[in-house]
Amino acid sequence: MGNEKALKGKVALITGGSRGIGRAITLKLAEAGADVIINFFRKRSTAESAAQEARAKGVEAHIIKANVGEPEQVEDMFDEIESQFGRLDILINNAASGVARSALDLDDRGWDWTMDINARAFLLCARRAVRLMKSGGKMVSISSLGSRLVLPIYTAVGVSKAALEALTRYLAVELAPRGICVNGIAAGAVETEALKLYTADPNLPQPAWQTTPAGRMVQPEDIANLVAFLCSEQSDMIRGQIIVIDGGVSLTPVSPAKKNDQGE
């Protein structure tokens, strides 16, 4: 973005905003001048350190503990946002979880847990966020390529991300008259702790993440840069799109050859 403080004065909620991709988004939005509300599930110390980093960029940062899969906790979170800030300009639906099983091994609890956190939470948050976005706003959902590609033991998460993407399109149209832009990002494998957990089992077929046509893995900051653009006025006419950010890996079934030491 040309203007480094393009989001100055905006208030942004980032669900799951303390670690991995969420943390990078939190810090990027803070860098762009937005006050940030960091939702976290378990690690208060990690959320506090993210908030400290954000404050060092000259913005206000607030942390709220909530499992976004639980409707009551989402309500409490928004009550707190309403009382502390009185408004919201940006909602980043990033928090994700999931039970790693193949379809036939999935039980109902694992399915519900995954769908509630990854898909329904966006609906719950969007419903409350709309009430705080009186002058319009921006919403971005963070999806993954597992919504359209079939990955080992990714069934519940992949299906939940497909639902999230469909919800993103519906919200984009339904909220457009309120001046709210809604878009999504489908990320390829992003170099995070969560990816290490997913690829830890050597018995599972390992997708070829390490090389992409772009020559490197996607980093959390790549996602954060795109989020910042989607939260800026420059993206106002992009509506309901799921933008793939994967270094081109989904375009080809063949893993590109690794570069040699000379980068050739």
């Binding site: 599930f41 378990r42 690690k43 208060r44 110390s45 499992n67 039970v99 790693a100």
Partner: protein, 82 residues
């Protein structure tokens, strides 16, 4: 309520097992606990005692007796910080 009693109530509620199934020698495997059960136990303990459980430290825990000792240690660490 002792840590053992609290852990017994949480673990048996989450795994839907009778409290009699819980002893210091019991493992999560004995209770047919899956990864989701374990996360729910961890969250309930963190909320009850206002502690942070580090997932990587759990690899050292073999049974509920080890888990009780771990949680007591975390509560003690928190007391020292306060």
């Amino acid at each position: 309520m002792s840590v053992e009693e609290t852990l017994r109530k949480i673990v048996t509620r989450v795994t839907r097992k009778p409290e009699s199934a819980f002893t210091p020698q019991t493992t999560f495997e004995d209770l047919d606990a899956d990864s989701l059960d374990i996360v729910q136990v961890l969250v309930a303990l963190e909320d009850t005692y206002d502690i942070e459980i580090q997932d990587e430290e759990l690899q050292e825990i073999k049974n509920m007796g080890d888990f009780i000792a771990y949680v007591e240690c975390k509560i003690g660490e928190k007391g020292k910080q306060a």
